[in-house]
Each structure stands twice: as C-alpha cells, then as structure tokens.
Amino acid sequence: MQQLDETSVETDTCTNLLECKMISERRRGKTSHQEPELSNVSKRLVRTISQKSKNNYHENVMDDDDDGVSLRCLSLYTRGGGCKVGAATSDDFTEVVGPVRGTQDTTVDCFSYGVERFWKRNNKKKISQVPESHQNEAMQVFLPDDILEMCLMRLPITSLMNARLVCKKWRALTTSTRFMQMRREGNYPTPWLFLFGTVKDGFSSREIYAFDVSFNKWHKIESEILKGRFLFSVASVHENVFVVGGCSSSGGMDRKTHRGVLAFSPVIKSWQKVASMRHARSKPVLGVYEVESDCLTIKSQPRTRRIGGVSDVYEDPHRFSIRRVPRNEKSKHTSVKNSGRFLIIAVGGVGSWDEPLDSCEVYDSSSNKWTEIQRVPVDFGVACSAIVCNGSLYVYSETDKLAAYDIVRGFWVRVEMSLPVRPRVQEYAPKLVSCDEQRLFMVSVSWCEGGGEIGRRNKAVRKVWELDLVHGSCKEVSVHPDAPMDWNAVFVGDKKKLIFGVEMFKIFGQVLEFLTMCDVSDPKMKWVHVSKNEVGREMEPSSCAMKSMAVVHL
C-alpha cells in the first residue's frame, strides 16, 4: 500500500504541475486538509497513466517533458524494471521519494537476486548429482551403514570431528559408544601428547599444548580453569587426563595447595571435577591402574598414628568400602565397560606447608572416592617417579630405592634390584616408564665412561634401562641421542609400544623444546625427533621446571 501511494504521488506530480506543487506542499505538511481528495484524484490518475504508459510509452514521455526524468523513471517502474528514482532532479521530490524508493528497490533487487542465485545453485547441485546418482541408484538405496562405519572408524580424531559436522547421520553414526569402542579395539586412535603447566607472562598459562603425533601438528587448547594453577600432576586414563592437586597463588605470596582433582576430556574439551584428595598435594607422583576384575578391593591404610585425621570410628566403614560396592552399581559399571574402572594412586608430593608427604591415597573411579593407603616404607626417601606395571605400582625414590605397592593385596614391598651401577647425575631424577603394561623402563642420566674431568655436561648421557622384575636385574637398552639439558624432562610411555619424551630448556635466551619418541618393540630402540622448537618460544623459561605431560590415544 505504501508503495502504491508513493507511485501515485509521483505519477500525480508528473502529469499535472499544479497538483504536483500541491502535493509537494502536502509533503511538507502545509496543506494537510486537502489530503483525502488529492489522494483519490491521484489514484485515479495513476490508473489512467499506467494504462497509457502500457499502451504507448513514447507518447507518455512526450506528453510531459517538464519533468521528464522522473516520468521516465516512473514508466520504467510500471514496466516492471528496477528504476532508480535517485536520478530524479526535481528539487521537491528527491529528498522524499529518493531514499524511500531507492531502498525499496534495492531490497527487492537483492532478494530476487539472492533467490535466483539460491535456485541456480540448488539446480546446479541437482544437475551435477543426476548422472552419478542415476548410475548408482540401485546401490544407493542399500548402501550399508556398516561399511561407512568401517571407513569412518579409520579416521584420525581431527577428521572424525569434521566428519561429525557433515550431517546428522554421520554424527549419529560416529558418536555412538559402540562406534567409539570399535574404533578403540581396532587400534585406530593415534597418540596425542598434552603439555601442561607452561608459564607465560609470569603466570601459569591457561593453555594446554596438544601435539598430534600422526599429523605432526601442534594445537592449543584454552582452559580457563587451569589459569594460575601450577605444580600439579597429570595422568592419562582412557581418553581423559586427570589433573591432580597443585598450587595456585592468589596474588602476593599466598600460595594455596589444592586437594582438588580435575578430569579433562580432550575430545569434548570439557573439564569435570572429581572427588578431592584427602590431603592437599603438589606434584604428587601418580600411577594409573586399570581394573580388569570387578572384585578388586582397596586395602585402606592400617591404623597408624595420625594427627587430626579421621578417627577410627569414621574410617572403619571405608576400610572395605570397595568390596562392599553395591551390586547394582557394579552391574551398572559392567554395562558401561568402555569407561572401565580404574584407580589413580597418588604418592607423596608436597603438602600445604611445603612439607614432603609420605602418605599415599587411591582414587577409585567406581566409587569416586579417595582412600588412604599404606604410607611408603620408612626411609624410602622422596618419591620421584611412579608407574603401574604388571599390577603393581612401582615407585622410585630420589635416594635410588625402588618400592612396589601391591594394589590387590595392599602393601608395600622393597624391590631389591641391581640398579644401574654407574652413578647417576643427582639433579636428574630418574623416570619410570612402562609400556604395554608389561615392560618397565627407567630413564636416567648417568656419567659416561671416561670419567668427568672435562665438560661435565658433555659427559652425561641419558639412558634407558629395562628392568627385569623376575630376575631383579636391569640392562641398558637405549641411549637418548640428545644431551641431557633439562633436569625435568618428562618421559611417558603409552599403552602400546611408544615412549615419548619432552625436553625443554632455555638456551641463548630462548626456550626450546624437543619431542622425541622411541618404539620399544623395535629391538634397536632408536629415538626419533618428532617435533622441534615449535611452541617453546612462546613460553617462559620457568615452564621447563613446571611442565608435565600426558599421552592420550584419541
């Protein structure tokens, strides 16, 4: 209607100069009383004019050459073209008509153009599809989802994520637990390294650096929750990384040691809080035990003197709590087998008052609870590395002692072992690494043959020892090619056959990082560099001491 009025006004003015003037006056709001009649007249005029213009356009133009420009426009308009009224030169109307008509025109224009394009595109799509679909029409009808599934299963996680965005069907196919389990069983997940605890701008950064080994590519994951948190320990369980304990400083010198435990799921980039530990710890050593049998019980700590702890009365019910896991809960558990039950054992660490801890506790995923277990043996020293292997937790102390915690029976035993005879370099704490849940390795730095008169650094070598638990012996299996520059180098084994190491150190005013990998199934056990100096320069030197790493198969 609005549009019609506008046109009518215009036609009016074009045909009759007098009326034109009056309307222009009306437009200015001077002669408002004449409005109804005028508009009536104008409508009638419009009709006649448009008829005329249909009949003979040229005549129309000739008729009123006073206002030729806008008339031409009008006729164009009535003929259905997209006329640009902005071209009208008449002083009276440009300000009123111009903008209104202009915008209307353009919107219509855009719209129709858009629609046209849209249809063209759709048509094209259909056209291009016709030959192929025609060719395989019969096939398409019963193209089996299982084949599609088998193909999608072989995708690395990044591509799988993209595949999920393609359409709902693919999403439904690839997000089912069955699919993910089949993918795991088929050994298609590839290792990812997650580097935690880096420091940036004088503050623990909230970024996690993730390295996709198969694509050789770094990713950065923002995680606000980790901001300001440091000296925590990480352990990977299934597809999650658990961040245990740690400290945070709320400005100034205050430093708080945490009991809290977070579970990070890289696939969905989500964080979840799990039960807090019983003691605040920073840098505890962690071991992860995946429980196969459902009837495992955790022996809680036998009563020992403790100051300000939980009293006997309260502790007692927990003692056999795992055994008494309600049946229904257990059955629920078996139904969700893929997220199998696991234990995280936290040993030692540093407490709230900077005191070294010798207490240990176990987290059970089925009850979401931490249970205190027997302390590490007396005069064991500060635990510096731990790993679960063959159903036991092995802990190595800074005083070169090895102890094993029998998870099923719940006690510590000293492991007597002829450990590497050559003296190790004290600043470099040995790391225990286990591969395949069967083989136990130790990575330590020792002095090279030939004494240490010149260039102590050059003479130190990082070696991998394999510990033979049956015979209580160990043998050197590999030598790391890099000179040991980082005393906090992290070495982590995965479930299969790879050991990953990350070394970070500051040299020539720059932080460098080196990622190395070693395949233990290969008898030569050669180390290869997988990444060099990609992300280190973004970090501050203190990252070297703070970092921790977890390997997750995604």
């Binding site: 759709n122 799509k125 259909k126 291009s128 599809q129 192929e132 679909s133 060719q135 395989n136 096939m139 398409q140 193209l143 089996p144 989802d145 299982d146 084949i147 599609l148 088998m150 193909c151 999608l152 299963m153 072989r154 995708l155 690395p156 990044t158 591509s159 993209n162 595949a163 965005l165 393609v166 359409c167 709902k168 069907k169 693919w170 694509f215």
Partner: protein, 155 residues
C-alpha cells in the same frame, strides 16, 4: 605351486570365470560355499559385475602367487600392487566395496576402508560435503539434510 582343481564362478551378467580353487577360496564367502559342497557346477555371484569380479580375481591371484614370506621385495611389490589397485575411480571403488563386503575378503576390505578413510581424512566439513555431493555413493546421505546443513551454516 600346482593348481589341482578349478572353480567356475558365474557373475551377475551371466558370464563365467574359471578360477583355480586356491585362488577362489580367498574370499571367505566362496570358501564357505565350497566347504558346504554347493560348488559342484558353478558358484553364482549375482551381486558382482564382471568388471569387478575380474578385478577381484586379479587381486586374489596376486596375493596367492606372492610367496608368503618376509621377503622385503615381495612385500613391497604387493604393497605397490595394492596401491595401484585402489587407485581406481570412485565409482569402481564403490562397486568394489560392495563386492568385497559380499565376498568377504578381509585384506581387501581393510585396504579399501583405509582408502576411503584417507579420502575423507584432512578435509574440512565443507570439502567433505562437496566430496559427498560429487560422490553421492560413499555417503548415502540425504540432500535435504545437506541443505539444512548449508542453511544452518549460513545463519
């Protein structure tokens, strides 16, 4: 290696293929048929066209003939053969998938699944969408869903 017995395969088009038994038992489906004793005259394979069947037989032959040793050369040879084998155009590949699925040749299935996965790998959703559009076969997805996806992306 001497081939004692031959098996006759009849395909979708009615053509017959005479194959040595050693080769023919590569596909599990045929193996089971022979075991069950239904292979006295000829084995009908109604789902497979002659083009695909000849390709499959070629593949089986190659795998049977290659000595099952750890020789590096033989392995490399087989690998390059497999590589060329799956370099077929996508229509053929699709037919192959279906044929494999029916004949149940494990190695070849693995090979082809991996090939398709490699095709999808490293593509953005848009590219994948594009690919799926061009090769409607791999992705038995509905055009409607695609349009919806496009719309949602535009918004």
């Amino acid at each position: 290696m001497s081939y004692s017995k031959t098996i006759v395969l009849t395909n979708y088009d009615g053509e017959t293929f005479v194959v040595d038994e050693v080769v023919a038992v590569e596909p599990q489906t045929i193996e089971h048929m022979i075991e069950d004793g239904c292979a006295n005259t000829s084995i009908p394979l109604p789902n497979v066209t002659s083009k695909i069947l000849s390709k499959v037989i070629e593949h089986c032959k190659k795998h049977v003939e290659t000595p099952n040793s750890n020789e590096k050369a033989a392995k490399a040879d087989l690998k390059s053969f497999d590589f060329d084998f799956v370099k077929a155009d996508q229509g053929t590949l699709f037919d192959l998938i279906l044929a494999m699925n029916y004949l149940n040749i494990k190695e070849l299935l693995d090979l082809i699944y991996q090939t398709v996965a490699d095709m999808i790998k490293g593509k953005t959703p848009e590219e994948e969408e594009e690919m799926r559009r061009v090769n409607a076969w791999v992705f038995s997805c509905f055009v409607g869903v695609t349009c919806l996806y496009f719309k949602s992306k535009k918004m």
